[in-house]
């Protein structure tokens, strides 16, 4: 998926206030940046994916928190 399409999907998920979609698309954005070696950008998107997962009690919150911890960007949370 190209970046423009992903941006559109993210904006749409925000407008629909769809937490599952927000977690999914921010994670995809993070994955893409991580693969490209852009860790700062990856952690920016991981942060957003994590926050929406945490807010809505989504199970992905735990693995997203672990990824941020691995990059030294967050403390480990007991979830």
């Amino acid at each position: 998926m190209d970046r423009a399409t992903l941006d559109d999907l993210l904006l749409d998920a925000h407008s629909r206030n769809d937490p599952a979609a927000l977690v999914t698309y921010y994670t995809m954005a993070a994955d893409e940046r991580e693969a490209a070696g852009d860790i700062d950008a990856a952690c920016f998107f991981l942060t957003h994916a994590f926050v929406f997962a945490l807010e809505h009690g989504a199970p992905e919150a735990d693995s997203l928190n672990q990824r941020l911890v691995r990059h030294g960007r967050a403390d480990r949370l007991k979830l």
Binding site: T47, F50, V51, H56, G57, A74, L77
Partner: protein
């Protein structure tokens, strides 16, 4: 120089006392003083457990201008927090909602658990950096307001200095210990809300005396005469009235609603109506109870939140839907009959020459007991 009227005449014995001066009903300055010394310094009612029935339910409440958040956590416990983010002071929750996982501030997305712990501070150390050595989450949880739930009423002590609820209200807990059984709210039609143009104290004062019953509620005369009532007065705690002739509602088949389990004979025809200072009005009868929270809006406006409870749930006793509806209508009629009185007394308090009023030594003890308590709280606040 003390610019307020002296309260010594209020603190005198009921036989010679005057009521609280007009300024306690019409002056915004005294209202602000009461907010601190009377309502924030004691255990005030702000809501009902039934309004947050499930884990994750959150309800914001504006309590005299202070934003509070009622939350039922994953353990089923009710907590009350200041509804203000520890970051930039943003209101966290602006409408009742279900919290799936965490309370997220809508501004910069700082997140809190249902127990108020700060769980996430996104980008606090820069983009994608979610921690900073100088921002210590363990010290930045939501400000918890001291709370206690009794008879489904959520009480808070905002200033945190009142005695523990069980100590402050131990006498009433003991008096009504027979009613410490599960309560089931009667459903939508058992919730009543009255917006009344009166100072909140006048609603307390009218509630806790029986003197007015034959004049204002003539419908009660046929079975609940003045001489069938008694005064209830506990100096410094509560006051109200009791009746010796409570009669259960019956339907066309003669059926009644089930009693609360384990009650003694006293309650066969007994019922009590008590104002738990400052702003909660409670009633207990063998087959139902009610709780009223008086929400002081300003010195001349009050919202009465009235909730009726039963010994068994709606789901378990659908055959009593009609009786519950009739009972709610009966109480609605009684409470509405009181509106002109409390609004009329509020108007009367603008009479500049009114001296606070003279009590009936025989009939107004419960009302004076409340005035005495308010005056004591005010004096305590002024002496600090």
């Amino acid at each position: 120089m003390n610019k307020h009227s002296p309260l010594s005449s209020v603190l005198a014995d009921v036989n010679t006392a005057n009521g609280l001066p007009n300024e306690h009903y019409v002056d915004p300055g005294v209202f602000a003083e009461e907010r601190q010394s009377v309502l924030y310094a004691n255990w005030s009612g702000i809501g009902f457990g039934k309004d947050v029935p499930e884990s994750g339910d959150a309800k914001p409440v504006d309590f005299l201008g202070m934003p509070l958040l009622i939350v039922r956590d994953r353990d089923g416990e009710i907590g009350v927090f200041q509804n203000t983010c520890r970051h930039r002071g943003m209101i966290l929750v602006d409408a009742p909602k279900k919290i799936g996982g965490a309370i997220r501030c809508p501004y910069h997305s700082w997140c809190y658990s249902l127990k108020g712990e700060l769980r996430a501070t996104p980008h606090v150390g820069g983009p994608g950096q979610n921690k900073h050595e100088d921002v210590k989450n363990e010290y930045l949880g939501l400000v918890r307001i001291r709370s206690h739930v009794w008879r489904d009423v959520i009480f808070v002590n905002v200033d945190g200095n009142a005695p523990a609820f069980e100590d402050a209200h131990g006498e009433l807990l003991e008096r009504w210990k027979e009613f410490e059984t599960p309560l089931f709210h009667g459903g939508d039609e058992s919730s009543l809300k009255l917006e009344v143009k009166t100072n909140w104290k006048l609603a307390v004062e009218n509630y806790c005396e029986s003197y007015h019953l034959p004049w204002v509620h003539p419908g009660l005369n046929s079975y609940s005469r003045l001489e069938d009532h008694y005064n209830i007065e506990k100096r410094g705690h509560y006051s109200g009235q009791g009746t010796l002739v409570y009669r259960q509602l019956t339907d066309q088949d003669g059926a009644t609603m089930p009693d609360f389990p384990g009650l003694s004979d006293k309650w066969d025809e007994g019922a009590e109506y008590i104002a738990l200072y400052p702003n909660v009005l409670l009633g207990v009868q063998r087959d139902h109870s009610f709780a009223i929270i008086l929400e002081p809006v300003d010195q001349g406006n009050t919202v009465e939140h009235i909730e009726l409870y039963y010994a068994k749930s709606e789901a378990d006793t659908p055959e009593h839907d009609g009786l519950r509806a009739s009972n709610a209508q009966l109480w609605k009629t009684v409470f509405e009959e009181d509106v002109f009185v409390v609004e009329g007394m509020q108007k009367g308090r603008h009479g500049m020459l009114f001296d606070g009023g003279r009590f009936s030594p025989a009939m107004d003890g419960p009302t004076h007991n409340f005035h005495h308590w308010v005056a004591t709280q005010i004096e305590n606040g002024r002496s600090e």
